[in-house]
């Protein structure tokens, strides 16, 4: 069956922070660009980011990109690439100023500059004391940023394909990427979007877990497409558990609460982080705080009738600070925890929040794969930025605020690499004859499947398995069992059945297609977690840890672009 085809210079898949920042650059350079998004752009999950954007502006106290870089390298447990981290931390202030010029409603200081709040793991002078580095708009920074970027794209007349879901990557026999296949949700029509350069900015995949701060749309679509097209995923064992998800609901409570002076208590009213991180306490990095919380719960010091959560106290900040700096948190607490934080502490548990791994990329946003002895051969025409990419700036553990920084810096960098590539490679290569074959067979399989399980059943099983076998603490036997189980689930996912066969906005079909992506991510995560026999950052195998005994599958770039290497040392906060 032949499919309709449209051709562009560039296709951007995803319209969150990274996709929109890239789209802006591409549109303004006069290229023909198609930006695909499963949801209207301002509904992308960037909208839910709360606490801020990390950038060493130095508006509050002395700061430097070098200190930001040190904190990020240390936060990554030395698994982040130091060239990419230097690039991000140096570029960050420029990108924040630029966002301000676009109209972003940042909070302000008396002197009119952008207000910055303290955040976990961010310090002055190489770990000495906390620094105020997080540029924020109350606790709605992601919302403010996403809307500002969308607005700027309206001004630039960016062409959006709203409610189009990309289904598969199109590659030719040489491996070059030539676009994607995509489904228009409203009509059910499938099309090939042919591009000379393709960017994935498809976001995270937290929905592989039972409990996550992530939105329903975070189904790892870019990773699924890349994996099906033969591109290996990197560092998938590293999943960040955010210390403060609302217990039972999973909704995020920003680290900005602790940045503004809130702290965690166990059932005895003890400020337990003082024991685990004597210097930065509640503002230690997220892996450290989440592990401390899980330990408190495991050792019987959790609060509540079942002792299964901890308490985030902020009433001492007073209603004025809470309403000015954390109004969204107050709203969420009332709605999802039935408490008013002005009076009572919020019940919180570590909750899956962020995927440090992803599609392997370099600091220019180019996707790389191992090929003929070169661990990082560039895939021509293919780019990735944001959470779906592994640049890698977050290594084994991301610092709070660095996700938004990552979106801005690498969204723009990837677009600039694409512009350069398009200039140097003016021709358009022919599409292979079988360009849409994988997509069409997936769709045909779904339409004709008989006696299959429901998508919801298989997805539930996957989420429970990830949650119980791949949590904060990981053990060799449960991981090995998890690998077996997840392989079985992946197999079942290939036989799911949907009852709804309508062409019009068929969300059952979309969820089945999303499950194909989710299981790719779940399988990669579980297999990688089982294989990495060390504890590092967010990946904790209590059994195997030996300090200094570290594994590297893809060589870590220890050499920054201009700075001196930050040498590994024991990581304490």
């Amino acid at each position: 069956m032949a499919l309709a085809k449209r051709s562009f210079d560039a296709v951007v898949v995803g319209a969150g922070g990274a996709g929109l920042r890239a789209a802006l650059q591409l549109s303004e350079s006069g290229l023909s660009v198609a930006v695909l998004s499963k949801v209207f752009p301002t509904r992308s999950h960037t909208v839910a980011a709360q606490g801020g954007i990390g950038a060493a502006l130095g508006n509050m106290d002395e700061d430097s990109w070098l200190w930001h870089m040190y904190d990020t390298v240390k936060g990554s447990d030395w698994l982040g690439d130091q060239d990419a981290i230097e690039f991000m931390c140096r570029e960050a202030p420029k990108l924040v100023y630029e966002l301000e010029h676009f109209g972003m409603p940042f909070d302000r200081n008396e002197n009119g500059t952008v207000y910055q709040r303290p955040f976990g793991g961010h310090s002055q002078n190489f770990g000495e004391r906390p620094v105020q580095r997080s540029c924020c708009a109350a606790d709605r920074t992601g919302h403010a940023m996403l809307h500002t970027l969308y607005q700027r794209n309206v001004r630039a007349h960016t062409q959006f394909f709203v409610e189009w879901m990309a289904l598969d990557l199109v590659r030719d026999s040489s491996g070059q990427v030539l676009g994607v296949t995509a489904l228009e949700m409203e009509t059910g029509e499938v099309m090939i979007l042919n591009a000379r350069a393709t960017l994935f900015a498809t976001g995270g995949a937290g929905r592989i877990f039972w409990s996550t701060t992530n939105a329903f749309i975070c189904t790892g679509d870019g990773l699924g497409m890349a994996a099906r097209a033969g591109i290996p995923l990197e560092d998938m064992e590293f999943w960040q558990f955010h210390p403060t998800g609302v217990a039972g609901a999973g909704v995020l409570i920003t680290e900005g609460v602790r940045g503004e002076g809130g702290y965690l208590l166990n059932k005895n009213g003890e400020r337990f982080m003082e024991r685990y991180a004597p210097n930065l306490k509640d503002l230690a990095s997220r892996d450290i705080v989440s592990r401390a919380m899980a330990t408190e719960i495991k050792e019987g010091r959790g609060a509540g009738p079942h002792g299964d959560y901890l308490l985030l106290k902020l009433d001492h900040l007073g209603p004025e600070v809470i309403d000015k700096r954390l109004p969204g948190i107050r709203e969420i607490s009332k709605k999802f925890a039935n408490i008013d934080p002005v009076k009572d502490p919020i019940p919180v548990v570590p909750t899956v929040h962020y995927m440090m791994g992803g599609i392997p990329a370099n600091y220019l946003g180019e996707v790389v794969v191992p090929q003929g002895g070169n661990p990082e051969a560039v895939v021509p025409g293919f780019y990735a930025a944001g959470e779906c990419a592994c640049a890698s700036v977050h290594g084994a553990n991301r610092l709070g605020t660095n996700s938004l920084t990552d979106l801005l810096v690498f969204g723009k960098a990837a677009a600039e690499s694409m512009i350069k590539f398009l200039k140097e490679n003016p021709g358009r290569k022919d599409l292979p004859k079988d360009a849409a074959e994988r997509t069409l067979s997936r769709l045909a399989r779904l339409d004709n499947q008989k006696n299959g399980e429901s998508v919801a059943e298989v997805a539930t099983e996957m989420r429970r398995t990830m949650q119980s076998h791949c949590g904060v603490f990981r053990f060799p036997d449960t991981l090995a069992e998890g690998v077996k189980k997840i392989r079985g689930i992946a197999d079942r996912a290939s036989r799911t059945q949907i009852k709804d066969k309508s062409r019009v906005f068929n969300t059952a079909r979309l969820e089945a297609l999303e499950l194909d992506n989710l299981v790719e991510v779940a399988r990669a995560s579980m297999v990688s977690a089982e294989a990495r026999k060390e504890s590092r950052g967010a990946h904790d195998r209590s059994d195997q840890y030996k300090d200094g005994d570290r594994l590297e599958y893809k060589p870590v770039h220890m050499k920054p672009l201009t700075a001196r290497t930050i040498e590994p040392k024991v990581r304490t906060y």
């Binding site: 949801v39 209207f40 839910a48 676009f102 409603p105 919302h143 329903f216 709605k335 998508v455």
Partner: protein, 231 residues
């Protein structure tokens, strides 16, 4: 818990119909969206938009027992049974609870929803005092869910000519921004019997907004500025 839900699939239904559902909830199901997901587990053909499930993305706006709201932050305990769910009123239905929002976004785009400032770009941030920044509170938080505009009788009558409360709230968001230089141009754009003046302060928008914003007040401020400019 009992529900009656508007169902329409143009691919197979001649006309829309309300369908009844009786669904057993899990003890953890707190919000209307949780119940809708339960229903979808039984009947995968029910179509709705949803994403963040915490009231910030604006996807799951619908008409709930006669009032517009977001399913993800509407507590089940507060709802009278059977819960009647319909698509947002006044917009073309694509399928079930999914409406065509093109007209709504067209109006949003028509107010030039971006900062206009033609000064040379400074090296660092443009300065703005905390007082000036406070002017944006209650404006910039809009999530474009369309609960307000689709609760407005003036918008139902003239969706092509009246900007509607959501668009006007954003028009004022830029007028109120100390960094924006296009107030005159923005007022010109709205000085029209339909675009702005179809608002008769019915205030359904204020009642409907799930983020507790006040479009009527913003519209009042725009009208004030127009009056000031004529006298």
């Amino acid at each position: 818990m009992r529900f009656r839900i508007f169902r329409y699939d143009p691919d197979k239904d001649e006309k829309p119909a309300m369908r009844g559902y009786d669904v057993r909830l899990d003890p953890h199901d707190r919000m209307l969206l949780d119940a809708l997901i339960r229903i979808k587990e039984q009947d995968d053909s029910l179509s709705l938009r949803r994403s963040c499930r915490e009231g910030v993305c604006g996807s799951d706006a619908m008409n709930i027992n006669g009032k517009n709201g977001l399913a993800c932050i509407t507590k089940l305990a507060d709802l009278k049974e059977p819960v009647e769910l319909r698509p947002l009123p006044g917009l073309p239905v694509i399928r079930d609870l999914i409406v065509d929002m093109s007209q709504f976004f067209k109006q949003y785009h028509s107010i030039k929803p971006y900062l206009i400032n033609d000064d040379p770009v400074p090296e660092k941030e443009r300065l703005q005092s905390p007082r000036e920044r406070e002017e944006l509170d209650g404006l910039y938080e809009c999530i474009l869910c369309a609960c307000c505009s689709t609760a407005c009788p003036s918008y139902w009558w003239n969706p092509d000519k009246f900007v509607g409360p959501a668009g006007l709230l954003q028009a004022y968001r830029f007028i109120a921004d100390s960094r924006d230089q296009a107030t005159a141009e923005r007022l010109d754009n709205l000085e029209d019997p339909y675009r702005l003046f179809r608002c008769h302060s019915i205030m359904n928008c204020v009642d409907a907004c799930p983020k507790h914003l006040n479009p009527t007040r913003a519209i009042g401020k725009i009208k004030e500025l127009l009056v000031k400019r004529t006298v």
